[in-house]
């Protein structure tokens, strides 16, 4: 089912990119880069990530209908955009940034065309999706506070959040540009120097983005700007400024942001002509083929919990989290003896890892209840 939903997302994204005026072949190139990128695997192959796909369908439909409304002025399209926005925020809280993306469509694509005087001022039509987004953002924050993330949030100052955000941004940028090998659990490195390098890299990306933004000619590059703003908005809730666990980020959270990047890339290819355009198209299609192969390989890891966490153990032998999860999978399957082996493996790496200590105790208790002779 997730596979089919991902196909639907690709088709709708194509409609949105075409709707914003990008040529057919460039749209196909952009959508293929998005759809076949190995970072999609977590969202598509993991059943629990269906929320990402449903959220993306609502999100993209909302943008598509919004564009339709802007072009033709038909009321039903605006209503359809609102309904789609409701579907999006009800499916995934990451879509609360939708009003920002709709504002980017207005500001960078339609305002320059219509010669609007107050182009930066948001349209009143944005109020309903804005209210939906605020309501869902508030609910999500409260649920995080009461659902286990409150501890991670406590004591986070503005400097903590910003530095964490820079590390998270590096995770997403690095994995977008070079998505191999995969890392299921990326936690901030312990080395201060590595952290500093990552933060400086993120600042360089931000500075480069702002420089590029200024270089883009307003009248010709509205769609590229819109796509970049889309990606920026989509990264805001997932980059780590709001702490929601020990990880730098997750591949599935790049789903919406990379749709914006795909829009920018497709529009960028349209900007040039002649041999350069042909070269870019060949590069895009060639990269898509490579991405398809990598995604196919990565997808095999996602067959079940055992294959997934075993593959992660193989790639990151020093990860204390992979054996913890593999042990938990064995425990869930009713095999405490095997589970204990992996919890102890995790404790070999970090003897004070609280989750592993707790799970190992749980496994020992189950073995105790089965009989002393079963104890390892």
């Amino acid at each position: 089912m997730n596979t089919v939903l991902h196909g639907v997302v690709a088709a709708i994204l194509y409609g949105v990119v075409r709707g914003l005026g990008v040529s057919r072949v460039s749209s196909v190139a952009g959508v293929l880069l998005f759809a076949l990128h190995p970072q999609r695997v977590e969202a598509v192959a993991w059943l629990t990530a269906r929320k990402e796909l449903l959220g993306a369908i609502g999100f993209l439909l909302a943008v598509g209908f919004w564009v339709r409304w802007r072009r033709l002025g038909v009321g039903w399209a605006l209503a359809a955009s609102y309904v789609s926005a409701l579907v999006a925020v009800a499916s995934h809280p990451g879509t609360v940034v939708l009003p920002g993306v709709l504002w980017a469509v207005d500001t960078f694509v339609f305002s320059p065309q219509s010669g609007a005087r107050h182009r930066w001022w948001p349209s009143p039509a944005l109020i309903p999706p804005l209210l939906m987004g605020l309501a869902v953002a508030a609910m999500t924050y409260l649920m995080h506070q009461h659902g286990g993330h409150g501890e991670a949030e406590a004591g986070q100052g503005i400097v903590d959040r910003l530095s964490r955000g820079l590390l998270g941004l590096w995770f997403y940028v690095a994995n977008t540009v070079w998505p191999w090998p995969s890392r299921l659990f990326s936690i901030p490195p312990e080395s201060l120097m590595v952290r500093q390098v990552m933060a400086i890299g993120s600042l360089a990306v931000l500075g480069g983005g702002i420089w590029l933004w200024g270089k883009l000619e307003e009248s010709r590059c509205g769609v590229i700007r819109c796509g970049l703003a889309w990606a920026g908005f989509a990264l805001l809730p997932v980059v780590g400024v709001v702490a929601a666990g020990p990880y730098l980020g997750a591949d599935r959270h790049a789903y919406l942001a990379q749709a914006g990047i795909a829009l920018s890339l497709a529009a960028g290819i349209d900007l040039v002509s002649g041999p350069l355009r042909k070269g870019l198209l060949v590069l895009a299609f060639g990269t898509s083929v490579i991405f398809a192969g990598l995604s196919t390989v990565r997808c095999a890891d996602w067959r079940d919990s055992f294959s997934l966490f075993a593959a992660e153990m193989r790639r990151s032998p020093q990860s204390k989290i992979a054996p913890l999860h593999l042990g938990a999978a064995w425990l869930d399957a009713g095999h405490p003896r095997e589970a204990l082996v992996f919890f102890e493996k995790s404790l070999e790496i970090d003897p004070h890892f609280e989750l592993a200590l707790r799970n190992a105790a749980k496994a020992r208790a189950q073995l105790d209840s089965q009989g002393v002779e079963n104890l390892p």
Binding site: V9, A10, A11, A35, T296, A300, D301, R314
Partner: protein, 89 residues
Amino acid sequence: MWANRGKPLVFADMINVLNQPLASGSRWLGSEHLVPLVLATVAMLPYLQTTQFLWVNLDDPQFFGPGAIASSPVTGDALMRSLTHGGGR
């Protein structure tokens, strides 16, 4: 007909086009409308190996749970290595 309208495609157009009867002369199977279908199909290609989940018995240990370990060289290998590193238990 659609192709001559001069307006870019959005998803609503796809729905409209699909709703039009063939007799009206609409080229709903024209290349423009096949593109999203082809894209959707291509996007699904890397994940076709997971479609076995659609028709296998979800309780079958061959596909899920520790039963899968025995048939999987990846997980079996990881298990053996971790057993070795874990002190030979």
